[in-house]
Symmetry: C3
Subunit: 267 residues, 3 copies
């Protein structure tokens, strides 16, 4: 089956099943992340309190753990969620935001990746730093390009069994022995805060839907990137700056159909 046909199946399943997605994420993007999930047809729950994240991750269809604002409370809550997700078999995504030189998030991300997330999503600098071979980028900006992160992504994929998604002008999805590049999308996503962070949550939703449709995690992550990039392209065509891009992107996710997915090229 073509990747586009698979993406259509996973998107349809997502909308039909409204998977509950637990999100531990940074305070900057909680609102946008929840709205992205709602627009797409998933059910977000931004539960991030220790004592609540474990039971929630166990019951959810998918879980996101983003280390962007790692308060002491969120650090506890994150480890609790990862362990509970693993015990329950809930797919979960790690987003190692700005790891490298900043101490708390880097230590936390290392603890979490060792627990074997279903998917790790980050920009090239974050993936390189997480693999232990770089000092990170400039805040949330990448100082490295996607191709230069493929070795680090492969290392993480092999060591922890994760699908690794490296975000950039073209995204690379790396899993055991395979690299798929997803083109398209829009640079406007980098001018809206949370463009990358929300993608992590959407991956969790596609993993949930993919598993219920019998699609592998790697294929579900590729499906997700096709859908996200298609919506971004449509939004860019219907907006005149980063302000109007944001509502246009949510509208595009809401209305996205199978034909829209065809505009994205893979390699």
């Amino acid at each position: 089956m073509s990747a586009h046909a698979t993406a259509r199946i996973v998107l349809d399943r997502l909308r039909a099943s409204t998977p509950l997605i637990g999100c531990i994420t940074n305070s900057v993007v909680t609102n946008f992340t929840a709205n992205v999930l709602l627009a797409l047809g998933a059910a977000p729950a931004m539960v991030d309190i220790a004592g609540e994240t474990g039971p929630f991750a166990a019951a959810a269809g998918g879980q996101l753990i983003n280390v962007g604002t790692p308060t002491p409370e969120q650090r506890l809550a994150s480890v609790e969620a990862a362990d509970a997700a693993n015990r329950a078999g809930t797919p979960w995504v790690l987003d190692p935001v700005a790891v490298g030189s900043l101490v708390h998030r880097t230590a936390l991300a290392r603890e979490l990746v060792a627990r074997g997330p279903s998917c790790v999503r980050g920009n090239a600098s974050e993936i390189i730093a997480l693999a232990g071979s770089g000092a990170g980028g400039r805040g949330v900006e990448s100082a490295d390009d996607v191709e230069s992160a493929l070795d680090a992504a492969g290392t993480i994929a092999e060591r922890f069994g994760s699908v690794v998604a490296v975000s950039g002008p073209a995204d690379a999805i790396v899993s055991a022995g395979r690299v798929v590049r997803v083109g398209g999308g829009s640079a406007m996503l980098t001018r809206v805060t949370g463009g990358g962070c929300a993608l992590g949550a959407v991956i969790a939703a596609f993993l949930a839907a993919g598993r219920s449709a019998g699609v592998s995690d790697a294929d579900a992550v590729v499906s997700c990137h096709i859908a996200y990039s298609a919506a971004a392209e449509i939004a860019a065509e219907n907006s005149s700056g980063p302000g109007s891009f944001q509502p246009a992107f949510l509208d595009a996710l809401h209305r996205l159909d199978g034909a829209d997915l065809e505009r994205i090229e893979l390699s």
Copy 2:
């Protein structure tokens, strides 16, 4: 006087008096909640630090306490605000977000409802769980319908003296011996995160304005639902998805006039 005429009076008073509304709410919706209050003509203050919430609740025209992200800090701040509001006679609203199986918020919501909020607002599952007779819904989604929550709402209304607003396709406002159903609105509100949470803050603003206009709390809560549903309908007519709905909703709240309220039917 008709409910619509009352709603017009309270809305006019709200805009003329710009009531200061203290909000302790979850981190996902603080921004949207503040913007909803500003668009309507109230003055939001998202003060949620222990040691500050008490004095603030005492000085405010109305207070919201939403338990959606109950950090240890917010738990302390919430109880402090409720006690101060009661001492000062400030009307306050409890929003028991996702109570039921999640431990911290459920314990906190029980502590708070026992303090006799002026209004409790939630979906059917939350109201049933708060009354002690259910396990809650699926995150912020209700697993029960509004009619099935009327007994629980009546129990809370009777035991704690609160007006209870049950949100759903049609909302039910329950107070001592009376049920008013407010129709209309738009399902798009469920596709924007904070659609329900912001309603809790708007209720606090209508309670503040209602009291200064000599309108009962129950009638002020009905007035609020009429206005909120009317703005949602207008926004749905002027948008093409959940992304464009959000600015359209804020614009509609800003421009809402007495004639707009007439489109909402009560029963």
Copy 3:
């Protein structure tokens, strides 16, 4: 050189250099603040965890410290950031949100202003309260007008060596022996939460760009207000309420050019 010509130079430098701006700000406005910086062409990083803010402030081009939601964690993180910024020579902005009667933020703002921020930005009531001569306003609303705050602004400017920006219908920028008033803008900015808070972050970005272009801090702050007010005017012309104003404002910041700056009058 005219103030408008200087503003054009600083804006061009900002876009060419993409300064990294560390932001410790209140939870209500993190998202909007980051989007404002991105739209303008700066690189925001909302790092606010103790242990991370110091190294970050030292490496950043500019730093914002806003005391709007002063959790214990943020209080530690703020002092750490101010000290590190001072040691590294990073320009930093203090926004004393709602100081006056609320205890934690008032104590924190006093501690911070004593460290000599490059700029203090607030409304009239906040500036008066910070100078020790008033009880503050009504939440984030000013109870005083800009002219009545000029003495307090002068006191802060003299005692701590800061440029002081007083926000109001016309803004006043006060520095050693000089007052510049920047007109224009739009009242819609007061109907969007974070309109003032995001301005504080934009000042930090203009300070960063100004220093690299050899422009004084006082002139950079004036430049910033010219640009911000011009974008607000353009947005007001392209929107129909506070909801549509917000995306229009971000679009206007993104597209702002030198000719747009000319619409703002100084006195």
